[in-house]
């Protein structure tokens, strides 16, 4: 092993600087490098000088390109802008095509509904004309798509990719209840024919072309599915009918079916789309139907709601179910415990053994897209009926 101490001779500053600035010939550079490999002092000098140069020179020697230069660059390369613009246009058009495709596919999906729903459609086809208040509304479509074309509520991408919606809901709500604006009573009681200025959700509902038919079908569906509701007595039906007629006259066309306390309502957004006679005649749903301007945490308007006291259960058109415990001020998502897509929610009054209504413990019901029913007393825990 060599025990030679530190070198006695070193290259001068001129040579070290020339080495650092790459100004040496190959041979001399090799000599300096060989010395640097062996001499820690000269390595220190070179590194120190190099670091100082790196600190000082960017500010001193590298002039920043002036604004004129930058402008010149952009003017010269303006065509580069087309790349992101083209990509954006492609994405938008693709999303639009997918959206159209899904809307076109919706009627085909509707064909899969069970026999019960088909029967309901037959009933709705035979049903009398809508009341005079609704004559200005578009006529009901005989075979309405089960997934209506979104006019205004909800983002388009969400409608194009509904499978993404639960995730976006989770992100938006963060697993907590989301504060929603509480619908005012006067908003809720607006007649269907009333001007909808100032109520975007209501005006959106007014544009809901397939709405009346869909709402009717849902009500008929509820009627068909709710076997217990068929046991309503004729007496109570008649009472309800007269009360509803009286209330409709006073409220300017809102279809109401008043019931003994406690009040529970099942609402469907298409305003004034229900035939109260038919509804009460069937005795299935004892409810007040009203236009609901509220918006659920999913960003969509509810297609069906049911209310007991301060509990409000709502489902949007994508089948997400939400529960509010403060009359619609705040909403919480209900974990899915049913099969398929929740199509509507409703109330099922408790029925005693005599087949008469007993309102001590009404229960919520969820009807899915194939007509199966799940029941819950608190809106959170569900079991198949």
């Amino acid at each position: 092993m060599n025990s030679k101490p530190q070198l006695d001779h070193h290259p001068d500053a001129e040579s070290l600087n020339a080495f650092a600035e790459q100004a040496l010939a190959v041979q001399e550079r090799g000599k300096i490098l060989a010395h640097l490999a062996e001499c820690s002092r000269c390595r220190q000098v070179v590194y120190l000088a190099q670091e100082t140069a790196a600190e000082m020179e960017p500010a001193a020697t590298a002039p920043a390109p002036g604004p004129a230069g930058r402008r010149k660059f952009w003017l010269r390369n303006w065509w580069l802008v087309w790349a992101p613009v083209g990509a954006l246009a492609a994405i938008v058009s693709l999303a639009y095509v997918v959206h159209l495709w899904r809307v076109e596919m919706a009627p085909e999906l509707a064909k899969v509904v069970p026999q019960a729903v088909a029967q309901n459609e037959e009933i709705s086809a035979k049903s009398p004309a809508p009341p005079t208040e609704m004559q200005s509304a578009p006529p009901p479509v005989a075979v309405a798509p089960s997934i209506p074309a979104p006019k205004s509520p909800g983002p388009h991408l969400a409608s194009a990719f509904p499978e993404l919606l639960p995730l976006s809901n989770a992100v938006a709500s963060g697993g907590e209840t989301r504060k929603m604006s509480n619908p005012r009573p006067d908003e809720a009681a607006l007649p269907p024919g009333a001007p909808a200025a100032g109520y975007p959700a209501l005006s959106a509902a007014a544009e809901y072309k397939a709405g009346p038919a869909t709402a009717m079908r849902e009500v008929e569906q509820e009627r068909a599915a709710g076997s217990q509701s068929r046991a309503f007595s004729a007496q109570s039906t008649a009472k309800a009918k007269t009360k509803e007629q009286a209330q409709r006259e006073t409220s300017g066309g809102m279809l109401t079916a008043a019931a003994p306390a406690p009040t529970f309502t099942a609402a469907s957004p298409p305003p004034g789309s229900l035939d109260a006679d038919k509804l009460n005649g069937a005795g299935g749903v004892f409810a007040v139907y009203k236009a609901n301007p509220t918006e659920l945490p999913s960003g969509l308007a509810p297609v069906s709601t049911a209310t007991v006291s301060h509990l409000v259960l709502a489902v949007d058109r994508l089948g997400s179910v939400y529960l509010s415990e403060d009359s619609g001020s705040t909403w919480a998502s209900v974990a899915k415990q049913w099969m398929g897509r929740a199509a509507s929610v409703r109330l099922q009054p408790a029925v005693n053994t005599n087949g008469e209504e007993a309102y001590s413990a009404p229960s919520f019901e969820i009807v899915n897209d194939v007509g199966l029913v799940w029941v819950s007393t608190d809106g959170r825990t569900w079991k198949a009926k």
Binding site: M1, N2, S3, K4, Q6, L7, D8, H9, H10, P11, D12, A13, E14, S15, L16, N17, A18, A20, E21, Q22, A23, L24, A25, G30, K31, L33, A34, H35, L36, A37, E38, C39, S40, R41, R43, Q44, V45, V46, Y47, L48, A49, Q50, E51, T52, A53, A54, E55, M56, A60
Partner: protein
């Protein structure tokens, strides 16, 4: 002015080095005079000639000893230099007032900033800058003769780079000369050195194999190993000195280590070990080896540089 611009230096100055007449073409000289704008420094034509003759003759215009340079070779040599910086430095060294004014206006502030950056402190940096400034101004004398370090500047790199390197040299020398100093009250007498145990034969073989492998390393590889492992420089710092990308340094280091390992294995096998035994020996704890890698890597056989470290 001693001579006219078109007149050959050969004919007039007679200034040569080592007894040889310098042969600088007059037209080339005129061209260089205009390029470096020597008149703005208050230089006379004759002074400019002398500077170029001195520089060119000292290195024989970059050619091998004994060869005479043609006009093109002279032109190429001078154009490869930082001629403006060189003329300024030489003019300052000669005591030209206007050159000094120019030097101060151009380099005083960068010199102070560089000194502060090198010393890492405002006070120390300004002291260092003042010291260099006094040296450069020629306030030191040796053997009764005024000495100016600018005389050693030969124009191969930039003058500011030369100043930075000189600052770094002074700072490193000062640090290395004083960092081992400590107050006496804190001084503790070192324990008597324990006689090292005689290493096992396997370790001795490994040590020799390592020494032999390091000796075979290329110059640049040794520089890389020393910079990275001994000085603990970053890849970026090494890359800046060698003017390559840091990824290149990373690749080179990896290659060097692999080659070193191969060479050690080879040396071990050539000393009679089996492959497996050699690999096992490579797994030995490096602390068991009685060797100083720093000394081993920094072993020098060259005395190519004649400048004394201490000055």
């Amino acid at each position: 002015m001693g001579i006219t611009p078109t007149q050959s230096v050969e004919d007039t100055s007679g200034a040569g080095t080592e007894g040889r007449k310098a042969v600088i073409n007059g037209a080339l000289l005129d061209e260089l005079w205009r390029e470096c704008n020597g008149a703005s420094l208050g230089l006379q034509w004759g002074e400019f000639n002398e500077i170029l003759l001195g520089v060119g003759a000292s290195q024989n215009f970059g050619l091998a000893e004994g060869k005479s340079a043609s006009r093109q070779q002279q032109g190429a040599y001078f154009r490869g230099l930082k001629l403006g910086d060189l003329v300024l430095a030489r003019a300052c060294a000669a005591g030209n007032e206007r050159a000094w004014e120019c030097f101060i206006a151009t380099y005083r502030e960068p010199l102070v900033r560089a000194a502060i950056a090198i010393a890492g402190s405002e006070t120390l940096g300004r002291d260092l800058a003042d010291q260099i400034y006094a040296e450069v101004y020629g306030m030191t004398t040796r053997d009764g003769e005024r000495r100016c370090p600018l005389q050693s500047y030969r124009g191969r790199g930039s003058l500011i780079g030369w100043l930075r390197t000189t600052l770094a040299q002074r700072h490193v020398d000062h640090y290395r000369g004083s960092h081992r100093e400590q107050p006496l009250e804190e001084y503790e007498a070192p324990a008597p050195a324990i006689e090292p145990e005689k290493p096992a034969s396997e370790l001795t073989v490994l040590q020799k194999a390592l020494e032999a492998a390091l000796e075979l390393c290329e110059t640049e590889d040794r520089f890389l190993l020393a910079s990275y492992y001994l000085d603990e420089r970053t890849l970026l710092q090494i890359a800046q000195v060698l003017h390559v990308h840091e990824a290149t340094i990373s690749r080179k280091l990896k290659r060097v280590c692999q080659e070193l390992r191969k060479q050690i294995l080879k040396n071990l096998q050539s000393s009679g070990m089996s492959r497996r035994a050699a690999e096992e020996a490579l797994g030995a704890d490096p602390r068991d080896l009685d060797m100083d890698l720093r000394k081993l890597l920094q072993y020098s056989q060259s005395d190519a540089f004649q400048e004394k470290a201490g000055r």
